[in-house]
């Protein structure tokens, strides 16, 4: 892409902060003292936000997108329902975001995280670490393989349980696109009870985080599949410009 093309890309489309979760949401107790009280300062994006770190496919190891095997002893595998999670990362105009780095982390099939500060009595799986990463292809597509995480209790209300979820961290082409979110699973009855999800007020926005079962991508006698498409912020474009985001 020439510098002349780059000059025609505008600033990032502003975030719709009524669509995103409220920073201050008292039912999610930790948010009460961790939410800013002053208004955010708005300004149009600058080069500081329109640029971002570059990650190359060469940094990936062969098992980075396979959580069933990337922590397992030779010849062994993580325990739990085997699933493939796949989808497409696109911008708000629907253009695929190529070269986007996705980092994922999750609990094991019993809802136990491999973390020093985690004390839930469910057992660790010696063959499951819980992290993986992948970089989108030229069309913005990604996929990884894992076990379906279990729900787990957390000290918030007297009897709060997180729905099964996988955490996602995303880098697009610009630091303004930086996003961390969580993917949930179609049909999980805990979704309606969760105070963290409850920080999102629009049911359509909650729905955007719920991955449907995808029987078309399910591998018979091996692993079910869930589809999770992700939308990152897009940049404004001037007339007649027509190029994929990030290329």
């Amino acid at each position: 892409m020439s510098n002349a093309d780059k000059a025609r890309a505008g600033g990032y489309i502003p975030r719709d902060r009524g669509w995103h979760p409220a920073p201050f949401h008292p039912p999610y107790k930790t948010s009460v003292k961790r939410a800013p009280q002053a208004a955010l300062l708005s300004f149009p994006s600058t080069l500081s936000e329109e640029t971002g770190p570059v990650f190359g496919h060469t940094m990936l190891g062969p098992l980075d997108n396979d959580l069933i095997l990337n922590f397992a002893a030779p010849g062994e595998a993580a325990i739990g329902p085997r699933i493939i999670v796949h989808g497409r990362v696109r911008d708000e105009a629907g253009r695929g975001v190529a070269g986007a780095l996705l980092e994922v982390w999750q609990a094991n099939a019993g809802g136990r995280y491999r973390h020093k500060k985690e004390s839930y009595l469910a057992a660790l799986d010696p063959n499951f670490g819980g992290c993986g990463r992948v970089i989108t292809d030229t069309d913005g597509r990604y996929e990884f393989r894992t076990v379906m995480p279990g729900p787990y209790p957390w000290p918030n209300g007297m009897n709060d349980w997180r729905p099964a979820h996988i955490h996602f961290s995303l880098f697009g082409a610009g630091f303004a696109q930086r996003l961390i979110t969580q993917m949930y699973f179609e049909g999980d009855p805990l979704i309606a009870h969760c105070p963290i999800i409850g920080s999102i007020s629009d049911p359509a926005a909650v729905g955007a985080l719920v991955a449907p079962l995808d029987m078309a991508r399910t591998v018979p006698m091996d692993a079910r599949a869930y589809k999770f498409d992700i939308t990152l912020r897009g940049r404004r474009q001037t007339t007649f410009e027509n190029r994929p985001e990030g290329l």
Binding site: N3, K6, A9, P14, R15, D16, R17, W19, P21, A22, P23, Y28, T30, S31, K33, R34, P36, Q37, A38, L41, F43, P44, T46, L47, S48, E50, T51, G52, P53, F55, G61, A93, W105, Y113, R114, H115, K117, E118, G129, G130, C131, G132, R133, H167, A173, G174, A176, R178, L179, I180, T181, Q182, I196, A205, V206, A208, L209, L232, R233, G246
Partner: protein
């Protein structure tokens, strides 16, 4: 009825949670053998140009308690003011500088630390020059959407006085929350207050 605007909605944010380090800095968490090194642990891949500095600080909540589970990322230009990004049209950046760092913080104190270089000046869209700054992005348990802010340098008063963003802060008394202070040993200290009387200015960009 009019036609709908054909635009997708951004995927909503969710908190990074208390175990963000499993996914982003697994070696710090004690998960070894999956990644050789944690991403963002080093911002230098060789000898770098410019003034090398150490940038440290702590994130505090509205009760003045240090966050021990935050993840802090920084993004900045090189010493010449060029971003090591394909999106920067102004030419190549220092090839030994990544511009991006990630810190899980100290597990006991929460203090973050970046070994980096003092950034050069970068233009604002209208051509005015911004003062040297480092972009910060903070996530943690209890933070539902990542917080953007900037560290400027207290020993750059002339540049700061004409910075297009610092000068548009309505309550000018708050600009001091964006100043990293020299710590006397060649480094800078930048504390972040999420809430309360010394609340850091956060950005919607």
């Amino acid at each position: 009825m009019v036609q709908p605007i054909d635009i997708l909605k951004e995927t909503p944010s969710q908190t990074a949670g208390p175990y963000v380090h499993i996914g982003c800095t697994p070696n710090v968490t004690g998960i070894h053998g999956i990644y050789d090194t944690d991403l963002g642990a080093s911002m230098k891949t060789g000898p770098v140009k410019g003034q090398e500095i150490i940038l440290t600080g702590t994130v505090y909540d509205g009760m003045g308690a240090a966050l021990k589970d935050a993840m802090v990322e920084i993004w900045q230009a090189d010493a010449a003011g060029i971003y090591p990004s394909a999106q920067d049209p102004r030419g190549p950046a220092d090839p030994n500088f990544t511009g991006w760092g990630r810190s899980a913080g100290d597990m006991q104190t929460g203090a973050f630390r970046f070994e980096t270089v003092k950034p050069g000046r970068v233009p604002f869209p209208d051509g005015r020059m911004q003062a040297p700054h480092v972009t910060f992005w903070i996530v943690a348990r209890g933070i539902n959407i990542g917080l953007h802010t900037r560290a400027y340098f207290a020993d750059e008063p002339e540049a700061n006085a004409e910075d297009p963003i610092l000068t548009r802060i309505e309550h000018q008394s708050r600009t001091q929350t964006l100043l990293a202070e020299p710590d006397g040993s060649g480094g800078y200290r930048f504390d972040i207050h999420l809430q309360g009387p010394n609340e850091t200015v956060f950005f919607d960009i």
